[in-house]
Amino acid sequence: MKTLSSSYPHNEQASVLITTIMTMTILAMICATSLYITSQNITGGMQAASWQQSLTAAESGVDRAIRALNTGDWGNWKRAGTATLPVAEPTATAMATASPIAGPDSTHYLYFPSASSTLAAAASNSPEGSNTTAYWVTVDTAGMTTLQDPNGKQWYRIRSTGKAYLPGSIRSSMSRLDNDLRNTIGLKFDRKLSAATNTLQAYTAGQEGPTRSIEVIMSPIVTGGWARPITAGTGVQMSGGGSVGSFNSNNVPAPYQWTAAYEDHPGNGGIAIVNNTTNSDLRGTSVNGSLQYSGSTVKNTSGVSGTVSTPFNGSLTATVNPNTSGFAATDIMTQQYGSAPSLTVFNSVTPNYTAYAGGSPPVASITVNGNKNNPDYIKITGDFTVPGGKTFTITGAGANRYAVIWVTGKFTTSGSGQVLQDANSNITWIVDNDITVSGDTYNNASGHAAAVQFIGVGAHKFTDSGSATFTGTLNAPGYDATISGSGDFTGAIIANTVTISGSASVHYDDALGVQNASSVGNYAFASWFEDNSDFTRKDIGGNKLLY
């Protein structure tokens, strides 16, 4: 054993200990710093993940509200006795729960509580991140009225707030940038409520975590009847010239034709496409109305003045020949006649209709004696043609006379040939093959589109060309319709595809009864916005957090 010499200075003995302690301290600090940085990285990752989870929850809330609007099933919703939306989640117990609960209106909003939407992971799963998600939703009218909608239908506002609860101590990232993006509307504090009350309002214990809020405006998509100027099955092609708009022929002096002075502003010049499969392209054509569609994106819609929305869940009712039972059910017929006439007359063994063989034309003129509930019935077997130099005159025996003419072949007017229909007559043409007509060759003296209705049966072509305005309607969901030349089309079109070339315009006639003939098929997004603001706080640049 060695004994330390008394000649060794004492401070040298202590220096070893001090050096060791200092070294260990430095190492401990490095270790602690490393762990702290690592911890912050983990916190940042968890914050980002939870932020995404809360978005998923918020979108689920929007989906629930859309389903309720589409089905009218407001089960599990609460009805508040006010139209003023709450800043924070309201108390559900104070609200009506009568079933079936009425939808939101100008003095009530509906509320779906988070207690009914909470999804919690089983404790046995021991989630490391968020263990619970929930959302609460409100639906109200936002002060919008049916008078503000072209079809007289109600629009709604949905606000959904999704939450992802974080267990344990709630920490946000050290990154100011991350917090500007993902800490808004609170991890620990209900920032919206804090802003409203000007004091920090903590979440209920156990419910802390990021929240995200979405506001969606839902527009009603009408179906049935002459709801809009153009309803296409698979696509619309436009030239960029002309326009699509609306007016009311009842408000226009004789001859009741559209002029720019009588154009609606804003208009009802809407376009709907059931399933765009033909690469529809509006090419910037001015559409004084809205566009609704399903399927592929419709291109070049910058000319649409109203709302562009999707999906369009409407469908086209197939047209059938008048000797089938389904014919009377077509709502277009109902619209013209008030109630659908019984057209089984065409099946009678002893015909009580007037029959002609096809011809050019089959007869030079007819006189219409029928009325709305008991129209004249005429069947033309074969093609109906009015060639150049010929005329086909339709004369009403008195005011408001009605006739249904069934052409089993093609309907063709050409050249200088003309169908001359007086102002007393209302004719429904049912055509089983191609239809070729124009404003030059079909003179609808009434000036009202409702007086001339073409119903196309099967899958054929409709062609309107020339330089004069054609006034009438087309209900041919299987047809490919083309409007060319400079002549406008006044009325409404239902076809499989609609192609408008040249400078032709389409003018929807409000007198077709848009508001009464249509119903809401579904609701579609008119606007989608996520509120990620925190006006009470400033971002890294010292600016208030808004967008």
Binding site: K2, T3, S5, S34, N41, G44, A48, W51, Q52, G143, M144, T145, Q148, D149, P150, W155, S173, S175, L177, D178, D180, L181, R182, E215, I217, D264, P266, G267, N268, G270, G289, S290, S296, T297, V298, K299, N300, T301, G306, T307, V308, S309, T310, A524, F525, A526, S527, W528, F529, E530, D531, N532, S533, F535, D539, G541, N543, K544, L546, Y547
Partner: protein
């Protein structure tokens, strides 16, 4: 045992000294090497974590704004005003304008600038949410405009988000530029059709893999010319390259010439966001 013997034993023989010095040196060297390795490893992990945070942030920002945009386009204005992003006049166009160093520059080969229009959702001054108004089927929020612009600033390899608020007269009431990521090698909007989605590609320099020291990270579509930069600079082939397999190739400049180090693929992120507002799909 005698004390005098003990005193003699306090000394060390030369052999003992050499052995102990050698052992100590080895141990010290091992500790230093391990420490340096741990430091480098931690630095790389930290750099990776920071890069990943930047990538997530960029993706989340772009996705957030794309979802709520009512209009999206790529490019800038025909008459951009240089300085603080006050591009208030002119007509929207697609390429070739891009933004660098606070100025708009014409170069069709340069990265895209993604420009999104948002509804005026907040009231000026109070920040309260605006109630939408409906007029004959046309929905609108507040008056004026909100434009959000994303671009890579090639002068400092940062990725910026610019928010411009204009009132109903077109006057800029607010113009804020925030750097939301660093070390960005390239930014391209790959789908300029914008029919239903906005597809963006953002490539980051692989700083967690290679460090430049005092050098500079650079990027481009093809192998760098030796005249570019100085020794110590790094260079990566970005997604603008016509050769897909070359994207991610990392070069280092030493001795006056660039040499290929490795292909690093993990630094490119893709943002493919569906446009929720149908009006934005063109």
């Amino acid at each position: 045992m005698k004390i005098s013997d003990l005193k003699r034993d306090l000394g060390m023989t030369l052999v003992e000294m050499m052995v102990s010095t050698a052992c100590g040196s080895i141990l010290l060297a091992a500790v230093v090497i391990a420490g340096v390795a741990l430091q480098r490893s931690f630095g790389s992990v930290e750099s990776y974590s920071v890069a990943e945070g930047d990538q997530l942030r960029v993706l989340d920002y772009i996705a957030l704004d794309c979802r709520r945009a009512v209009k999206g386009t790529v490019g800038a204005l025909t008459t951009p005003t240089i300085g603080n992003g006050s591009w208030t006049g002119g007509t929207w166009v697609t390429q070739p304008y891009y933004r660098t160093g606070g100025a708009w520059t014409v170069d069709s080969t340069k990265p895209s600038t993604l420009i999104l229009s948002l509804p005026v959702y907040y009231a000026s001054g109070t920040g309260s949410i605006v109630t939408p108004t409906l007029s004959s089927g046309t929905l609108s929020y507040g008056s004026g405009s909100v434009t959000v612009c994303y671009y890579q600033d090639s002068t400092d390899s940062t990725f910026k988000r610019e928010v411009v608020l204009q009132d109903s007269t077109g006057t800029v009431t607010s113009d804020t530029i925030t750097t939301i990521a660093r070390n960005v090698a390239s930014f391209t909007v790959t789908n300029q059709d914008l029919t239903s989605t906005i597809s963006s590609t953002i490539m980051f320099f692989p700083t967690f893999k290679y460090t430049t020291g005092t050098g500079t990270w650079r990027s481009g579509p093809s192998t760098p010319a030796d005249t570019l930069g100085v020794d110590g600079d790094m260079y990566v082939i970005d997604p603008t390259s016509a050769t897909a397999s070359a994207v991610g190739n990392v070069y280092r400049r030493l001795g006056g010439s660039y040499s290929l180090l490795q292909n690093v693929k993990a630094t490119t992120v893709f943002c493919n966001t569906f446009l929720r507002n149908a009006s934005a799909r063109q």
